[in-house]
Symmetry: C2
Subunit: 272 residues, 2 copies
């Protein structure tokens, strides 16, 4: 199975760390500063693809992580979401071409099944850049907004921030991924309701293991005043998001991509 996750957000929002944390592997490395600045002088948004094989329980997943360095990093960020939107559509185009072959060999599915949009925890609300980028991207892919570096926000501030973001998402008609609520399995529906209630997910990422004051060894961020734990559900929604992406909703993300987003693209291409 091919499963592709895209991470979008400004430099320094913790995307690389999050991906490393997610797969406890060294798939992506943070660019050193010289390279980062050089790219900024070229004013481009790159699309980098990193592949890995994931073995979860008894199935093998060919996981593709798509990183977009340069997004939102310039003084003038007009249209910086365009390369991302084009990339997503390109993947649909590639798939459409394969589907239209008379002899269909093994289809390679490089379509983006989930796009994690990293929101900066500024504590106020979405920025104009976030609104415009998410509005555009959300029309073509399963968009999952996440609050980056959630250890910046105290519990009450986080709760209020989540609410404000969801209010703006509704007011601005930004389409985001929502797990299905119309299934027959009551337990799954209840689970999905609780997932929806936690959105946008707040994440903490860390590439290191540290010792907590009470002596446990955990993946987390060690401050002079305590340890923010990645996998502590009172500290972050990291586990909720991982379950959704890799276990409970991978199939739904793949299906909705095919049946909603890809189908929309294919239909609009047929018209032209």
């Amino acid at each position: 199975t091919d499963f592709s996750i895209m991470v979008v957000g400004e430099s320094g929002t913790g995307k690389t760390t999050y991906v490393n944390t997610l797969f406890a592997s060294e798939m992506l490395t943070p660019m050193d500063d010289v390279t980062r600045r050089k790219k900024q002088l070229d004013k481009t948004v790159d699309v980098n693809i990193h592949k890995a094989e994931l073995e979860e329980k008894n199935f093998r997943v060919k996981l593709n992580i798509i990183d977009t360095p340069g997004f939102g990093d310039y003084v003038d960020n007009n249209e910086c979401w365009a390369p991302i939107f084009d990339f997503i559509e390109n993947q649909y185009e590639q798939y459409l071409i394969q589907e239209q072959q008379p002899v269909r060999k093994g289809l390679i599915d490089m379509r983006v099944h989930a796009c994690l949009y990293f929101i900066r925890p500024n504590g106020h609300s979405l920025k104009p850049l976030d609104i415009r980028a998410m509005k555009t991207i959300g029309e073509r892919v399963n968009l999952i907004p996440v609050i980056a570096k959630a250890d910046t926000l105290s519990p009450n501030a986080l709760k209020a921030f989540k609410k404000r973001i969801m209010d703006v998402i509704q007011a601005q008609n930004i389409q985001i991924y929502s797990p299905p609520l119309d299934g027959e399995d009551d337990r799954a529906t209840a689970k999905n309701r609780s997932i929806i209630a936690s959105m946008p997910f707040s994440i903490i990422g860390s590439e290191t293991e540290v010792a907590t004051p009470d002596g446990r060894k955990v993946r987390g961020r060690k401050y002079n005043w305590g340890v923010a734990e990645v996998e502590n559900e009172n500290h972050s929604d990291f586990i909720k998001l991982r379950e959704l992406l890799i276990r409970t909703h991978m199939l739904d993300l793949i299906n909705t991509t095919q049946e909603i987003h890809y189908d929309f693209y294919r239909t609009s291409q047929m018209k032209t």
Copy 2:
């Protein structure tokens, strides 16, 4: 004595909170989100002035805090530092006009004596916007870069971040305020060396008092894993910066503004 401090930085960097923390007063209130977004639709950088009277020991200071909402908040932030630069020059112009009056009544000094530039703690380095804005502003005013929301960075990350910022400041020839090292007072010079060694100052701001795990009541940010204390010198440089601004270096900031920055402006005006 008139003393004016300008705070510059993107929305959500904690400027309002910092000022409130600094004077434990309600001088500035965070704009509610509707206003904030309305201003963003007008794409302007405002300059808001808030006045207060400060009584420190036996002298009275007419303190002016100048806030610049809108800076760096748009999709296209080209030249967003220009209104700030113009404001600073305008204050010199106003002073020059007063100085040139035949009958000089009490001069009103609204010149900016210190400009705190709030750097986002993204963990990498200065953004292109930061570099261009600081380069421009630093030529006209005492520029003091500060790392905002320093509780986002663990001790090692903070140390590395400070070093990288200072390297870029040097490499880019950004002029920042530096306390004098050529005085006759050895103790003052030693103090100044240690101030310079801590730059850029890392600040934590908080409008609330909270209880620490060990039962003290402090101004700080309460997380599920501990309390980041504003006035704990192991947690932030808040106290260092406050001492510099309000006690030990207020006079030097006023003097350098007069003798270096204003003098430069006046001389260049004389030539034209």
